[in-house]
Symmetry: C2
Subunit: 393 residues, 2 copies
């Protein structure tokens, strides 16, 4: 038995963690652009990285440490992804860390921004003079890692266990419009003081990601820098696998929601539930294809209850389906069934009302099996085009 | 030996063919919306249809005739796809044809437009009173099949063979922004008076499509209605396989170009050449992923020589690649090579000049094999969003 309570303050609540963020001029407008997360003692770390074949320099740098290692320092910058920068990109990280004024065991770097430019080392090193290394400034760190994000993503859950005592799972993240095929980077740093066993770190992280971050991105279509990291100080001394897993799933799912909600220029968040598919693979394929379809996304933007695009996209995804078994609903409004193929005006106006909401569900019952999956997507409007037409400037 | 000459007049040049188009009120603005193509005698027909699992009623109707059959009448309407309309949708076609005032052997229907609405049979039947069944009005037919197309697509090639005599390969087509994942329908009707052997009809069509229509759409991600049809009257009495194949390839490639060029709201056409891939499959995958990437398409729109998005998309496509072997060029401007990872201002401004053109090539040399493939794509701007946000109205 345990209680999970959402509390304010992000990483600041987690025992043994310090963090902060400053501006060193990478973002011209004076906003924070370099952040750190530090632990008082060496901490366990587990990570999931992008499946992109061109992994960025910080990921290659991380992997040099081998399979399992302890760390006490993570440095994060925005505006420059340090990707496609070759061995120089990796050396730049080593050089930056050589100037670090605090003790650093296996320091880790993480970057997001434009691909194909070397880091501005001197500017980033300047951050070391500005950081309050013993401060708890999660809010400043969360702001520093933002790129096209419209709002910062910072969450903390406190888990009170029955036997007494509590532990925390907290995170800062960045990401907006990561929905395939847009490839915008997602970074997520999860800190906990639960006493997670070393050999379970990556396993637990993978399990939580499957139903959260992986549900908002089509496998494989990821940026060069995508990173989800779990760091455990173990300072609470508590290990309750079930409680931790539940908190981790809640946290990662909420973060995935926030990333979709912040989809570049998007105003709507839509859950695409595919029910009664022949296989789980089919359910995932259909749900993710729907959440990625340009025609579906523009119809969401236009609030046009054009279920034909939903059906056509399912048909195009190649999954087992049959128009005589299909049911399509917008929230509770049945817009297509084998016996009611055409929408009447009443149904259309009810569906249109559903689509005026900020978030809703489109459910497709394939009626050919018993497997289900839900993917999350957003609309695509003019703002997306404006944001991405000239991202670098 | 033969000469291929492009001539005006579309289908009107092809012996034994009649065609026309009229308005019956499906398009409110009075533009042509129903077309026919007719042959004086039963003609051979070959067709390639969408791989979408929800094939539209006209495709199911066509398939009822079996593997090989002769036809002398094709009816085409825009504004309504007659898809997801069940058995009623097929019956509607039969009912419409029952009113046809001219002899019709195995009449074929083809539709494009909104999914999920029954055809307006009485309006379409009204076209039979308006058609000039013995007219040669290819231009009117080409106009009638347009939906979001900005310009009509009508081509005729005359092939003069050395032995004397000539035959024609002509086509009308519709399609704009068919580029995956947009799923907009492409219809193409190719008429020839070459004496094509019956058993080669579909074979030849498939071979030509592979390097044309299939290069502008990712396999499988097609609309419910996509159709490419070849109809042969044989009236020229000439069969020269090589000459015919070359003309057919020229014709289909030119039509594919026109469809990309007319991409909904697009202003630019870009060829994505992937060279020296490990396998042909890899070359195709990388080229098509590039032509479909939202981030790439918006960068084309913004004329932003952000090659990082090109690299990242290749990496995300999962093909064998290595940043130390990759070369990326915009036309003749080398923007990335293993020895020149960062763009200097001169390169950037040269690449920007390339991107200001209406059409250009982005070439990615993977340097890991010897297979190549070129896919064609277009930019994505605000007009795409406007067109597709409320397509039905």
């Amino acid at each position: 038995m345990f209680d999970i309570i959402s509390i304010k303050g992000g990483l600041d609540n987690v025992e043994g963690f310090f963090s902060g963020g400053v501006n060193v001029g990478l973002k011209p407008e004076g906003k924070n652009d370099v952040a750190f997360i530090r632990t008082s003692e060496p901490a366990l770390v587990g990570a999931i990285f992008t499946s992109n074949k061109f992994q960025a320099a910080p990921i290659k740098h991380f992997k040099r440490y081998g399979e399992t290692f302890l760390t006490n320092f993570i440095l994060i910058n925005s505006k420059n992804a340090n990707a496609m920068t070759g061995v120089e990109g990796i050396n730049d990280i080593d050089e930056i860390f050589s100037h670090l004024p605090v003790s650093a065991l296996n320091p880790i770097m993480s970057s997001t921004g434009v691909i194909g430019c070397r880091l501005n080392r001197s500017k980033i090193i300047k951050a070391f003079e500005l950081f309050d290394f013993n401060g708890k400034n999660s809010n400043a760190a969360a702001n520093a890692i933002m790129t096209t994000d419209r709002f910062k993503k910072e969450i903390c859950l406190r888990v009170d266990v029955k036997e007494g005592g509590s532990f925390h799972v907290a995170a800062i993240a960045k990401g907006a419009g990561m929905i395939c095929p847009s490839l915008a980077t997602m970074l997520c740093f999860i800190a906990t003081d639960a006493k997670v066993p070393q050999d379970e770190m990556t396993l637990l992280l993978n399990e939580a990601a499957e139903e959260s971050f992986n549900a908002i991105s089509v496998d494989g279509d990821t940026s060069t820098n995508d990173t989800v990291m779990l760091i455990s100080s173990g300072k609470s001394g508590i290990w309750d696998r079930e409680a931790f897993m539940q908190a981790l799933k809640l946290l990662t799912r909420e973060l995935a929601f926030l990333v979709v909600k912040d989809g570049e220029g998007s105003r709507k968040m839509v859950a695409f539930e595919v029910k009664n598919a022949a296989t789980l693979e089919d359910a995932k394929t259909a749900a993710k294809t729907l959440s990625n379809s340009l025609l579906v996304k523009t119809a969401l933007f236009g609030e046009d209850p054009n279920w034909g695009r939903i059906a056509s996209t399912i048909g195009a995804s190649g999954v087992v389906c049959d128009e005589e078994r299909l049911y399509i609903k917008y929230d509770d409004v049945l817009v297509y069934s084998p016996s009611q193929k055409e929408m009447n005006a009443e149904v259309e106006s009810a569906a249109n009302r559903v689509m005026k909401q900020e978030s809703y569900k489109i459910c497709c019952d394939l009626g050919v099996g018993d497997k289900s999956y839900t993917a999350y997507g957003c609309d695509l409007g003019h703002e997306y085009v404006s944001i991405n037409a000239d991202y670098r400037s």
